[in-house]
């Protein structure tokens, strides 16, 4: 039965890949008015969504960039904006950002893998309740609990330690994210129990089971929680703001608003900062694109 179901799509796909039934709008494959219209629309869409980025990058490398003169290529190429940016301490903001993103992501992925292993490969009493709590953490983003969270960061209950002004104040709160726990445990559930049973008979312990048997089978899911986790951490705004003691603790994204309000720096420096804040997420996206698409579609179909 399974062979017939896999064969039928393959049979219908080949002829349709060049037919007008390939897409919902029935774009015709050959050269025609229809095709011309599609090209024009595509160019328009490209301009709207991608060209602002080109303008920002160009402005960052332009000697006399101003908001009233946006060009797609710098008129007078210079690195002066980045030099000025480094005098404004942008590299140290970037370092803050990178430390927080690296540490936060590592912590989040570890915590999520551990929790997912327990929730998906084990059965225990109270499991449904724990799952409910995990769901609840997704509904408690930093924005909603921001005010009491800032108090907690200033004076950790029971421990009496203040995290404010340290990178830990951002790294620890982003360590728990229900979304990556869910994605990970959904994926781990799909691994057949026989693999685990066989390993158990060979006397494999829990940690080796997770790291040597289960995790290597979860590589695609690691990509998914990696890119989504990175974007989540990199996108943090309120948390670094309330976790900071003074502006030198800011991350790069938060520091942009400081630059903007500083009348002594020109728009070119602000653009240089924006470019610096864009590059890490661009790199991560380009490397892990496939995981990203997979994660979005999985999230949409599973709810």
């Amino acid at each position: 039965m399974s062979t017939t179901t896999t064969r039928t799509p393959a049979r219908t796909k080949r002829p349709s890949s060049s037919s007008r039934f390939d897409s919902a709008l029935g774009w015709s494959p050959g050269f025609s008015v229809n095709m011309l219209l599609r090209i024009v629309l595509c160019i328009l869409v490209f301009c709207i969504f991608a060209l602002p980025f080109a303008a920002i990058i160009s402005g960052a490398f332009d000697r006399n960039s101003s908001p009233t003169e946006i060009t797609l290529l710098p008129k007078a190429f210079t690195l002066a904006n980045f030099e000025a940016a480094s005098q404004q301490g942008l590299w140290s903001y970037l370092l803050n950002s990178l430390v927080i993103a690296g540490g936060g992501l590592l912590l989040q992925m570890t915590v999520s893998v551990f929790a997912a292993y327990s929730l998906s490969r084990k059965k225990f009493r109270g499991q449904a309740f724990i799952l409910l709590l995990v769901l609840l953490t997704m509904m408690l983003p930093e924005e909603i609990i921001g005010i009491p969270l800032s108090l907690v960061l200033g004076d950790l209950p029971l421990l009496g330690v203040s995290l404010r002004g340290t990178v830990l104040a951002v790294i620890l709160p982003v360590g728990i994210w229900g979304f990556s726990i869910f994605i990970m445990s959904e994926f781990m559930k799909e691994i057949p129990a026989e693999i685990e049973e066989a390993a158990r008979l060979d006397g494999v312990g829990e940690f080796r089971m997770l790291f040597a048997i289960i995790l290597p089978l979860c590589k695609p899911a690691l990509g998914v929680i990696g890119i989504f986790g990175f974007m989540m951490v990199w996108d943090q705004y309120l948390l670094p703001l309330i976790a900071a003691n003074d502006p030198s603790d800011y991350t790069l994204t938060v520091a942009l608003s400081v630059l903007r309000n500083d009348t002594t720096v020109g728009p070119g420096v602000l653009l240089a900062g924006a470019v610096m804040a864009m590059i890490p997420s661009l790199l991560v996206y380009l490397f892990l694109q496939r995981s990203m698409i997979r994660g979005i579609t999985a999230g949409a179909t599973k709810g």
């Binding site: 709207i48 924005e143 049973e197 924006a274 864009m278």
Partner: protein, 315 residues
Amino acid sequence: MTSAPTKPAAMPAQARRPSPPKRRRKSNRAHMLAVWVFLVPAAVLALYFKFIPMLEGIRLSLFKVQPFLGDVFVGLDNYASVLTDARFMDALGHTVILGLTQTVGALVVGFVLALLLEGQAKSLWFLRTAIFLPVVTALAVVGEIWRILYFPTADGPLNTILSWVGLGPLQFLNGTDTALGSIAVVGIWNGAPYNMVIILAGLAGIDRALYESAGVDGATVWQRLRYITLPALRPAIVIVLTLAAIRSLRSFTEVYVLTGGGPAGSTEVWMTRMYSLGFQRNDIGVASAAAVLLLVVTLLLTVGTQLLARRKAER
């Protein structure tokens, strides 16, 4: 489902089947230990940075919080002041308007993008990658980009383009009439490519034979969209819509970066009002009450969505 094809390969394990129950009872304690050891990191972090703040927020919402004079229990007074505060009610209105326009706009634009960019050609794949950039970029950066595009003089980037078609110059973020709309445009620009990916996945799942037979029956492109494409996409669209609606209730960063709630409070949303009360005016009790109200609404909406989705799945 995936385990079905691997069953035959695992046949040898079946011969040893009788042993697991006995082993399981013996290793029950080890099993429970493993369960909890792996849950501890998540539990500690969730307790400290989610649940204690949540409970603390609920507690604070019942007090008049005074840093050096001690907190005074005021019951539900803080909730009453939130609900009777005109600026909070304005903020609620803005939140709903912004949420609706952003959600619907991003869905419609995402749908159009998906229809336009559906296909397997390399050039289309490249376009989709490029168009996805706004989603990957941090919101704060997106905000800075648009502040520049929206530069309100006649020679600002967007005003220049508007002047080509004879419109213009607009104040964008600086005008009380245009500011909220300008923020909504940024939200749509930021959210549409994400929806595009979801809708593209839905489009790919539609049986091409349906299009073909509709073509044989002489259906127009519009009829094909209306009777085949839209019904097939409905489940995905419902989920996208509700998730976006819930998320837009707590939109903060883009508003804060773009306008900070101004000009003249015309873009004040629930979150920015709460933030300025709590952190700038130190009215922590009232701000906490506002947070709890938002949390309750979010919880209700989320649970409602889950129930709806579950009932749909059962059907």
